[in-house]
């Protein structure tokens, strides 16, 4: 049994929820999102985030706009859509349910 693999799978599962959580607070470009995730110690490698962002964008959960940057390359500012907010609320409810379930099982 590979512990690391299980950990990666668990992280990946909540990654989508967390990204939506970050963007629910306001617009952000990938580097910002990555920094927040890293600070929260949720991120191992950045590579997993980019496909996720693109997929969420294609599902119309997210939208983005380009903005020029004075210091570097242009930035893609991601924003959560109305559909995304509903999607996020669903995930949040699920997360709470899961949390309660896990707590309950561990306490008993």
């Amino acid at each position: 049994m590979n512990v690391e693999n299980t950990q990666a799978q668990m992280r990946k599962g909540v990654l989508e929820y967390c990204i939506l959580g970050i963007l629910n607070q306001g617009e952000a470009y990938p580097s910002e999102i990555l920094n927040k995730l890293r600070t929260a110690q949720l991120l191992v490698v950045e590579g997993t985030v980019y496909p996720l962002l693109t997929r969420l964008k294609n599902l119309e959960v997210l939208s983005y706009r380009w903005e020029e940057s004075t210091s570097g390359p242009p930035r893609k500012y991601y924003k959560i859509t109305e559909k995304g907010q509903k999607f996020y609320q669903d995930l949040a409810r699920t997360w709470q349910e899961l949390q309660q379930a896990v707590d309950q099982i561990n306490q008993n």
């Binding site: 990938p30 950045e46 997993t48 496909p51 996720l52 893609k76």
Partner: protein, 516 residues
């Protein structure tokens, strides 16, 4: 000292250590292979490249300083190995499996890794998931059976790309084929053939030693053909001039080793002087056109001159050629007409009441395969030929001499041998045909139960060759025999009836009949 490479990522210039550059390139290539089949793969790649720009800018303490291998390793560690990108999308693949299958359409690649020659066989094996040994065996069988294996192999080699990248290698063994994938496969193949052809022709045009040598040889062959064409053209031109401006009666012609003249030859085939002249004129025009065209083509190969003038002249000779052919056609039709109607003159010349008929033609008589009795001219009653063996024609003093007659046997209705002679010829009308037939002279003699036949016949030269023929019909009474010298030529095959349908003949020797 390290070599550096300058690159642009998403429009931003960077200078990289050579090793760093190679590592980055490999990383991006691997990434591309994984993302290529994903929806929005290009977009993800763009995002990643933008991120790389950011990360590079972060590690540059001084702007535009060189990116080192260690920097690249750090960047890759932050971004994660290419598999991380794939794993994220693999979840999605599960949920939308039906659509992802189409995207993974299998493609046919040459498998150069397990190749013996070009990897075609192993590519086929990978495509159909069968053992490569079978494919090779089939190819060898094809080659042995029809030789078709070799061109087939070369064709596949040319039109299929080799699987070079990992994703191509995966695709090589991919999912089942559908109509769309086959269509795109063929489209791709035609594009590749075009590309390859362009590549090769440009390579050939470039002055490699081989192509130079080849061109020299081609040029030499062209010159030689040119010279031959000019010589041949001049040669035929001389002949044409002889035909046109010299009386054909003095042009020598050879028939069976005997010399005669073209004029006489013509008169033996064409009924009138006019037709003969028209025939010669037609042949002249045709030959003239061919001769001039070949001279022109020859010069064209040797030197270059005005193309417009050239093509017009060729066109002119094309027209004269057709005119000549037309003229010959008319003459030919006229002559054919005099072959259309069969005429015949038949008469009973003698009836003999002897117990047996002694038949004499000459010593060199033989039976042809059609069971018609044909004889050569040698020692006949007839005018002997200068060259008696298989001669084609012999004309002298206004008469044409031909050798070979047919003898047929029938059953006599009474107790007499009946000998009749049938002479045949063709003509444009019954009158003409019958007249020609009557003009045939066939010497023969009947005396003391002996039939003496000539082995040939003659007719006037003005009648021309119109299929003149002589048939000697002998009706044999029941129980009587036809002898030729000591052997029985024609007895009854049985006690009853002569086999009239086949006219078979038998020799009777030592009390036995045998086919003769």
């Amino acid at each position: 000292m390290n070599k550096t490479v300058s690159i642009h990522i998403q429009g931003f210039p960077f200078t990289l250590e050579e090793q760093a550059y190679e590592t980055l390139q490999q990383y991006l290539k691997a990434l591309k292979e994984i993302l290529i089949n994903e929806p929005g793969g290009d977009e993800i790649l763009q995002d990643v490249e933008l991120r790389i720009v950011e990360l590079f800018q972060e590690c540059q303490k001084v702007p535009s300083s060189v990116i080192l291998q260690t920097n690249i390793e750090e960047v890759i560690a932050v971004l994660g190995s290419p598999e991380n990108f794939g794993e994220a999308t693999s979840e999605k693949q599960d949920s939308t499996q039906t659509t992802s299958e189409e995207r993974h359409g299998k493609r046919f690649f040459r498998d150069t890794e397990s190749a013996i020659i070009g990897g075609v066989a192993s590519g086929v094996a990978a495509y159909f998931h069968i053992d490569v040994v079978f494919v090779r065996a089939i190819l060898v069988l094809f080659t042995m059976a029809f030789g078709s294996g070799i061109p087939l192999y070369i064709l596949l080699w040319i039109i299929t790309p080799s699987a070079q990248t990992a994703s191509e290698k995966l695709q090589m063994r991919g999912l089942p084929v559908n109509f769309e994938s086959i269509k795109s496969e063929f489209k791709g193949a035609t594009e590749r053939v075009e590309k390859n052809a362009k590549k090769w022709s440009s390579q050939f045009r470039r002055d490699s030693a081989l192509s130079k040598g080849l061109r020299q040889i081609v040029l030499l062959i062209k010159k030689v053909i040119g010279i031959l064409l000019v010589l041949w053209g001049l040669f035929s031109l001389i002949h044409v001039c002889l035909f046109l401006f010299v009386d054909p009666a003095i042009i020598p012609a050879q028939v069976n080793g005997n010399f005669t003249s073209l004029g006489e030859l013509g008169s033996l085939f064409f009924e009138t002087k006019q037709l003969t002249n028209l025939a010669y004129f037609g042949i002249s025009i045709v030959l003239f056109s061919i001769a001039f065209t070949s001279i022109l083509l020859g010069f064209r190969m040797l030197f270059f001159f005005n193309r417009k003038w050239f093509s017009r002249t060729i066109l002119f000779f094309g027209v004269t050629f057709l005119g000549g052919v037309l003229l010959l056609g008319i003459v030919g039709l006229q002559t054919l007409k005099s072959f259309t109607i069969d005429g015949a003159v038949s008469a009973e010349v003698s009836s003999i009441s002897a117990d047996s008929l002694q038949l004499e033609i000459d010593a060199d008589s033989y039976w042809s395969s059609t069971s018609k009795y044909r004889v050569s001219n040698k020692n006949g009653l007839f005018k002997p030929s200068k060259n008696p063996d298989q001669w084609f024609l012999f004309a002298e003093n206004g008469r044409i001499y031909k050798s070979g007659i047919a003898i047929t046997y029938t059953t006599s209705t009474d107790s007499l041998f009946h000998i009749s002679i049938e002479k045949k010829a063709n003509g444009s009308s019954y009158q003409r045909a019958n007249q020609r037939a009557a003009n045939i002279d066939f010497p023969m003699n009947v005396a003391n139960g002996q039939l003496l036949l000539s082995s040939g016949y003659s007719f006037p030269s003005k009648d021309c060759f119109r299929d003149q023929e002589v048939i000697v019909k002998i009706a044999v009474p029941k129980g009587k025999k036809v002898w030729n010298k000591a052997a029985v030529v024609y007895p009854y095959s049985s006690e009853n009836q002569i086999d009239q349908t086949s006219h078979r003949a038998y020799i009777y020797t030592d009390g036995k009949y045998s086919a003769w």
